[in-house]
Amino acid sequence: MPRPERPAPTGPERPAGPGSGAPIRPTPDPGEPLLQIVDLTLRFGGVTALDRVSFDIRRGEILGLIGPNGAGKTTCFNAITGVCPPTAGTIRFRGTSLGRRKKHQITRLGIARTFQNIRLFPEMTALENVMVGADAHHRTSVPGAIFRLSPRHFAEERVCRAIAMEMLDRVGITERAHQIARNLPYGDQRRLEIARALATRPALLCLDEPAAGSNPAEKASLLELIRSLRDSGYTILLIDHDMKLVMGVTDRIVVLEFGRKIAEGLPAEIRENPAVVAAYLGVPDGSA
């Protein structure tokens, strides 16, 4: 069920957390921005992939990020997850700026992602794939693991396995746990990616075209999964080409075109927005 919507904030800047001095609030109220993107700009050589893009992701919502090919959606993901450091602008997560943090540090802060073209660890089993994600918050290092002396090692291994199994169950592929990721059917690989991301215990889950290449039945069950994730407290940022899917599941939508934000609002508003219609002209629904 979509929750009641508030109007989108008009100004990009909110007084919530100016810089690193602000205390991190572990659980902001629902509706409060979890991630704030302010004037995000990314340039590769002469190409401007993102041009002063600003939007917020509020806690507990599913935000759709849509736009034609090359609009800068995945680049936006890359900026949030630290793959491509922004040329200018700031990204604030729970009020603290991500700055130039390393990718793994950002993950530990609570942002996890999946990939447009599936990128699992192909030679590891499904369970191991998820365990790598679950290890994100663990601290056992080489000395502890060699001698198996520290109680922490055993505790962490137990927790890790439990979390991993739970996440596999969550996405519904428990029976695949001991199979090699490379050999899983396509739809299960997509699910496994979500499970691996969930295992890092994120507050914000970024899904990059999770339904790409799926058939209608798979899409429907994926929608169900995404909704249930939102309902259990995850905040979700979703990229997809498929307008039907995006319209059906998101609470709010941000539209990018040529690296600029051209619209933001409720799905119904976006559908009516002339700029969006123009951007998508010639790109019929579901053609991706």
Binding site: K102, T107, R108, D135, I146, N183
Partner: protein, 431 residues
């Protein structure tokens, strides 16, 4: 069309079943039987220098000495396996760490060294391990951010740097080397030293024990967060980092661990030799270590050990080969190849060309024995045949790579992959 797909599927299933059966057979045995077999095998290994089994024993060189060398290679292969097999970092300068370990023991322990600290062996070994680890970290620090292939060349350079530094610095004994490297303590019942130059057997046992320990430690690492992180880095470094793995730190750890094991083996080597000089550490040896890892099956401890045995033992055995044995080797080679060809997966490419190619291979095989038998005539004396051993070894490397790229004992993951395939094929084949 469907007939073709079915045939392909069937062939795949057969291959998967064939590849998986030794593992399944072993896992299917009752636990006491497995345990008993392992103990018996361990006892056999321990008793090797005393048994001196007829076919295995090298005739030209001291068999126990060869066993010790093989043991040292096993240690190195296990250490390198952490770096290459698990973490996927291509290290071509492993001999560098080996040399660092050897020189540490020599410099700190030998009365002849310029430092003349003359620490006892038991103190020297931890020092050697520590220094190797630190050198691994020093090399890894600036270079592990580089992409794989650059890492390969930089590490290769490192191996050479270590050797050349030894040649050029007086503290390390320069080209002359350092004699009187300390030996492990311990006495026999009659009061004479246990570890001597003459009798290598205690050294061999020491190495066996250390191999056991390293295998154990490696297994622990593999089954932990660290092992998962390493494999994740090997599979896809960017994604590993995005999933919260501090990749640089774990790569550095992999390097340091590999270096520590390499240093330990070097230290043992130096103690056994009692004399080391830069000649003992040619960079090419790194490639032999790497060959051991890849031939055996990168990522699999036991495979790697088997690879080390092949790489270290075969050339020594070939050094003193006689006609009778040559025939044995040759027949087993042909039989192995024939078995492979009979059981191999039949692909869609099979056609007249394939058979032509097989014919060529068979022709070469048939032509080899007379050539080999003619060798003594060419070289005048029988002893020269030993010089062919690196040639044969090189050929073996190529043949191995071509026919079994995954290694003799592939890693567990690959085995699972094959079993998975078999499972998936079953319902399809019955329907």
């Amino acid at each position: 069309m469907t007939g073709f797909v079915d045939r392909l599927r069937l062939a795949d299933e057969q291959r998967a079943a064939f590849a998986a059966w030794p593992r399944r057979w072993w896992a299917g045995l009752p636990r006491p039987v497995r345990l008993g077999a392992l103990v018996a095998f361990a006892a056999f290994l321990v008793a090797l220098p005393i048994l001196q089994p007829p076919v295995l024993t090298t005739t030209g060189t001291d068999f126990t000495g060869v066993l010790f060398t093989v043991g040292v290679y096993c240690l190195c292969a296990l250490g390198l396996n952490i770096v290459v097999g698990l973490a996927g970092l291509l290290d071509l300068g492993y001999i560098g760490f080996f040399a660092v370990g050897a020189y540490s023991v020599a410099v700190f322990g030998s009365p002849q060294s310029k430092l003349a600290t003359e620490y006892p062996w038991l103190v020297c070994i931890p020092i050697a391990i520590a220094i190797s680890m630190v050198s691994g970290a020093i090399l890894g620090g600036p270079t592990l951010r580089l992409r794989g292939d650059y890492l390969a060349i930089v590490t290769l350079g490192f191996g050479e740097i270590v050797r050349l530094t030894a040649v050029n610095s007086e503290v390390l004994g320069a080209a002359a080397g350092i004699p009187e490297v300390p030996r492990p303590p311990g006495e026999r019942a009659d009061g004479t030293r246990l570890f001597t130059i003459v009798d290598v057997t205690p050294f061999y046992w020491l190495v066996l024990a250390l191999i056991f320990l390293v295998v154990l430690a490696g297994a622990n690492l593999e089954r932990s967060r660290v092992g998962r992180a390493w494999v994740a880095i090997r599979e896809d470094e960017d994604v590993a980092q995005l999933m919260g793995v501090p990749t640089f730190r774990f790569k550095l750890w992999a390097f340091a661990m590999g270096a520590a094991v390499g240093g330990l083996s070097g230290a043992l080597f130096a103690s056994r030799q009692t004399f080391i000089n830069p000649e003992s550490f040619p960079v090419q040896t790194s490639l032999m270590f790497l060959a051991a890892v890849v031939i055996g099956g990168a990522g699999n401890k036991f495979g790697v050990v088997l690879g080390a045995v092949i790489v270290a033992y075969l050339p020594e055995r070939l050094r003193s080969i006689d006609d009778g044995l040559l025939v044995v080797w040759y027949v087993s080679l042909v039989l192995g190849l024939a078995t492979y060809l009979l059981l191999r997966r039949r692909g869609p490419r099979d056609g007249p060309r394939t058979y032509l190619r097989l014919g060529v291979v068979a022709g070469i095989l048939a032509a080899l024995p007379p050539l080999l038998l003619a060798m003594p005539e060419v070289f005048g004396s029988r002893g020269e045949i030993g010089q062919l051993r690196y040639l044969m070894f090189g050929l073996a490397l190529i043949v191995m790579s071509v026919f079994r790229p995954q290694g003799l004992i592939p890693s567990r993951r690959r085995a699972i992959e094959l079993e998975d395939r078999a499972k998936e094929v079953e319902p399809g084949a019955t329907s």
